[in-house]
Amino acid sequence: MNNQIAVEISDVTKKFGEVVAVDNVKIRIKDREFFSLLGPSGCGKTTTLRMIGGFELPTEGQIYIMGEAQGFKPPYQRPVNTVFQSYALFPHMTIAQNIAFGLEMKKVSKNEIKKRVGEMLDLVQLSNMGRRKPKQLSGGQRQRVALARALINHPKVLLLDEPLGALDMKLRKEMQFELKAIQERVGITFVYVTHDQEEAITMSDRIAIMNEGKVLQIDTPEEIYERPANHFVADFIGETNFIPGKVQRTENGFGLKISDGQIFAAGWAEEGVSIGEASLISVRPEKLRIYPTDQSPGFDHLSKITGVIEKSVYIGTDTRYVVRLTKDTIVQVRQQNMVSGGTHLKEGMSVNLFWDSENARILKR
């Protein structure tokens, strides 16, 4: 990945009448990056994608592709191609004609077209299917045609709008793998829209999390998972515990005082959180280590808190514990079953939970 910016979305807002679909969004997508826009339905991710493609125009702000401002340019004047959610294959044309379409519009010679279409069909493993029509293909095959039809034009940027949504689980996982492989091989910038966080985390170099038109965090999958910037992101990605309490200063930094007076040490606090404010601490279940109180090792560098196991659920790879800290605070702890038969922690046991404070983050409610 070089340092060139493939797509810059600069202070872009999109309004549909009174409704603000995209709210002052700033994103810089690097060249050759696999970049995902992730968020729940209606968060504005698809609208943002469409604005890059030229299917919608920003109400405010500007979109730059490879440094060039796109202004009011229609899609056919932009160096991007799109893979649509419904594939949008032309039903009255054959697969080969579909794939060749962009080249035809660019007035590439017939021989050249024939050659490149052949190569594309091989690339997506649909050789010898050129003569067929879209309705004769399965969902997965159509998806690959849509991809081929876009890639053959060597766009600088490829836009993908939830392309795997209509496929069944197994096929989805295969295609995720293939898409990533193709992206790395061909070296094109991919801008990928999805609502499936697992998909985004698996495939992306970086992710932008969106909600209600705003971008909440842009980071690598690991950063987003380990260090979510706010409540929404922490909640949307993976599982986490949200423990309510009041912000306190501690010897080494700060923590959250929970209802029974115990202090939950944290390594980071969201900007704007003040001492004494009612906030939340976010800590993921797998980051808490659990030991019976009478058998706890002495973890000096780790923070500690005490509670009682209320419930334990065996899930094969892990065991989950619901631990009650106070009258109204519970946390979920996840422990890998390293030994068969699970751990020997039983319901009703008094336990200590240990964690590294950098894994606990204070977030605004």
Binding site: G53, G54, F55, P74, P75, Y76, V80, N81, T82, F84, S86, A88, L89, F90, P91, H92, F101, G102, M105, K106, K135, R149, A150, N153
Partner: protein, 294 residues
């Protein structure tokens, strides 16, 4: 109702059910007979070897012979086809454009234009016929024919009739094409634009092919309506100009003979031919079998 009662009344209910089912089926059979009988009788008696259309006197094809030798009938047939073809061509082009405007855009005055394009469909024939009659009279346009000749062919163009036909044809074409446009996948056009096709190329390579079933359906409908029209043609024809239905009407007024049956059978055959073509065309592209032409 307990389970016990259910089984006892079960048989009775079953019997009643079966009886009403077969009663319905018998009724339906009679219903279809009712629909087909007049036409079947009509066709049969076109081969009747006598002037009667009620007493069978043997098989003959002489009425068909007479029909094909009747210049008035042949002329009126030709006139019908000419008017239908011209009116269809004009109304398909105008109607498709109107359909695109109404289905794809929103603008001030759309509701009015919408209504204007529906009026010819809902207005009764006779009202439209006299409207046009008065208009052609008032405006001085008249009911004449234009005589054109080019490349050695001379044509008489019955402009008043054609004008009236286009007026109602265009409304029907618009409805049919609009229906097709409404169910078209819009993302196909976005995909075309995404693949470097400008507005005209998108239209020609994607939108138009997708509209084709609707356009052809509209064309066929317009053609059939024009071919079949009687009332409007009757009132907008100049002296001596006849289309086939108009000619048939005067024949009926003069007296009933199997010759009229023969002409009718001919028209029936043409109608069936047109419908068969329409059905074949509809099966073509999408592979869908829709019976929506009526």
């Amino acid at each position: 109702m307990s389970k016990q009662q259910n089984t006892n009344t079960g048989f009775l209910n079953l019997l009643r059910h079966k009886l009403s089912q077969s009663g319905l089926s018998i009724y339906a059979v009679f219903g279809y007979l009712f629909l087909y009988t007049p036409i079947i009788v009509l066709v049969i008696f076109s081969f009747n070897d006598s002037r009667s259309t009620a007493q069978w006197a043997g098989f003959t094809t002489r009425w068909y012979g007479e029909m094909f030798q009747d210049t008035q009938i042949i002329t009126s047939l030709w006139n019908s086809l000419f008017v239908a073809v011209v009116a269809t061509i004009i109304s398909v082009i105008f109607g498709t454009m109107a359909a695109m405007a109404l289905e794809r855009y929103s603008f001030k005055g759309k509701l009015t234009m919408d209504a204007v394009l529906y009026l010819p469909i809902v207005i009764p024939d006779i009202a439209m016929a006299i409207m046009l009659l008065l208009f052609f009279n008032f405006s001085g346009i008249g009911f004449d024919v234009w005589k054109l000749s080019f490349f050695g062919i001379s044509l008489s163009v019955p402009y008043s009739v054609i004008i009236g036909h286009v007026a109602f044809d265009v409304a029907f074409v618009a409805v049919v094409v609009r229906a097709r446009l409404a169910q078209m996948d819009r993302t196909l056009e976005e995909a075309a634009e995404d693949l470097y096709a400008n507005a005209w190329q998108t239209f020609r390579r994607v939108t138009l092919p997708q509209m084709m079933p609707g356009i052809l359906g509209g064309a066929l409908l317009a053609f059939t309506l024009s071919l079949d029209d009687f009332v409007i043609t009757f009132f907008t024809s100049g002296a001596g100009f006849n289309t086939l239905p108009v000619r048939v009407f005067s024949m009926i007024k003069k007296g009933v003979t199997p010759k009229i049956n023969a002409v009718s059978t001919l028209m029936l055959a043409v109608s069936l031919l047109l419908v068969t073509i329409s059905l074949i065309l509809q099966r073509g592209d999408d592979g869908e079998n829709k019976v929506d032409m009526f």
